[in-house]
Amino acid sequence: MSSVEHIKEGRSRPSFPWAFPSSLFGRATPGAGSPAILALLMLPGLIIVAAFFILPMALVAMRVADGPDGLATYFVILTNDRYLASLIQTLVMSGGVTVTALVLCGICGLFLVRNRFAGRNVITALLTLPLSFPGTVVGFMVIMLAGRQGVIGSISDALWGEKIVFAYEITGLFVGYLYFSIPRVILAVMASAEKLDPQLEEAARSLGAPTWRVVKDVILPGLMPGLVSSGAICFATAMGAFGTAFTLATDIDVLPMVIYTEFTRNANIAVAAALSIALGAMTWAVLAAVRVFVGNGATSGTGGGA
């Protein structure tokens, strides 16, 4: 802290009489309330987090340890073939959705920022439409697209006399998660594309760099923070999403569906809890890792939950 701030602080009010709370709340800033007031301000939030998040999570962790297999239940996700297969399927699908969404939205987002044409704003608004659709609605959109009465089926029926239907399987889920991810990723890409300096590209071009080099060395590095953070959110949402799978079919074996069936049909609470903790830990780890790499605030735009 600079000495100027010390002086200011002294002018504003004498420093805190009790050392403990002021160290708890970090450095004193002039004008802020007394520690008692700050504690009072935090109280509602603290109660909510402690009673309805920390306590339940701790109880769940204990519940798992009390189960028939004890702490080993935590590793059931790796040792049980069915759970492992479901974990791998979930990981592969979430990764696939993330990459597809990043590529598609990377191209379109950059295009929308770089070009001005009639209807551009309308297209941007439409692309961000599903931003807060719940997973169930996204599932219904997939049924509208690729279900038994869907557009794709009707078109293929008219063209080849054969109905293409893929809504009620893992492909449908993939399409649903893509549907859900596009608005988020496109917003992130457009936000970082607006910050790109077109002069850098001009410079690279005038120095004779071919287009692919400009993309690889100038544009991509500039977009990277936005791509990485929105990709992480995309991945995390796809890992934990439940509503879409629930609407499409109950026999799609992604991890959230497995947890749901273990809990409701088999009443296997210890395993369901262990699987959810594992899933939560993985999702959190991905988001935390990205925040470390890209810097703080990168993952602040998490929204919804399909």
Binding site: I37, L41, P44, C108, L112, T128, F242, T247, A273, S276
Partner: protein, 272 residues
């Protein structure tokens, strides 16, 4: 600007992506007002399905709106002061607390719901009331309110504002409600819109937390998709769109205004 094949192929891809998003929305909206989906639009348009949905699910729609409002009140009361403390008194402890606070967003709703069920499932009066669902919604939306308010608070010169008010003799609460809160209004508004939108659409948590008597809008939607005819599901989706659209538009407008305001500040600084 020269428009070559690259421009048109990118435009083509963008339009395809746009159709991918819009076509199902339009289809489902149309299906909700069509007499018979299997015969197509030629069977005529009707509002019958919308009224039928209202008869069947009015209670769950109203419950959702009620929960969203209650959720907004709780997140305002808990979130705005919390954001203030987080911005005003940053420390390692505070950052840890913020991380904890944001965890319910990262953790799948299913896991959170499971934890709440295991802990409070036995408290029968609470378990069977709408307050149980509200708890889940508050956990999930509170981080959004805090982040949104904290972002605006961090950008304004709170120290100067508060010192100014304090030197004029304003006590803490007067400063908080008279200076801090009005200045943080854009963040509070954006957070509020976000909280209401998220709460109305929340399904992951709510599906586990609901009882037959406390069905919310998205729970009713899942129910309609699974067990009602396609027209009813579509009409219900249409009602949801109508509810959520003004919120989305307001959010977008607010974001645009914020962007324009910050650009204005940028140019002002450039000219100095």
């Amino acid at each position: 600007m020269r428009r070559d094949w690259k421009f048109y192929s990118q435009l083509g891809l963008t339009i395809v992506l746009c159709l991918f998003i819009v076509v199902p929305v339009v289809m489902s909206a149309l299906a909700g007002v069509t007499v018979n989906v299997f015969k197509g639009l030629s069977s005529g348009l009707t509002l019958r399905w919308v009224f039928e949905v209202w008869d069947l699910y009015a209670q769950s729609i109203l419950l959702s709106l009620g929960i969203a409002m209650a959720c907004l009140v709780v997140t305002l009361v808990a979130g705005v002061p919390l954001a203030y403390v987080l911005v005003r008194r940053p420390s390692r402890m505070m950052r840890l607390f913020e991380e904890l606070l944001t965890l319910p967003v990262a953790i799948p709703g299913l896991a959170l719901a499971l934890a709440l069920l295991i802990t409070y499932g036995g408290v029968s009066g609470y378990r069977s009331s709408w307050l149980f669902i509200l708890t889940g919604h508050v956990l999930f939306t509170l981080p959004f309110m805090v982040r949104s308010v904290a972002a605006v608070m961090a950008a304004m010169d709170m120290k100067m504002l508060e010192e100014g008010a304090a030197s004029l003799g304003a006590g803490f609460w007067r400063r908080f409600f008279g200076v801090i809160v009005p200045n943080a209004k854009p963040g509070i508004l954006a957070g509020a819109l976000m909280v209401v939108t998220l709460s109305i659409g929340e399904f992951n948590l709510t599906w586990m937390l609901h009882t037959p008597l406390t069905k919310t809008l998205p729970v009713g939607l899942a129910d309609a998709y699974a067990s009602m005819r396609l027209e009813i599901g579509s009409a219900y989706t249409l009602i949801f769109f109508v509810l959520i659209m003004p919120l989305l538009i307001a959010m977008q407008a607010l974001a645009d205004r914020g962007k324009r305001a910050s650009r204005r500040i940028d140019t002002a600084e450039d000219t100095l």
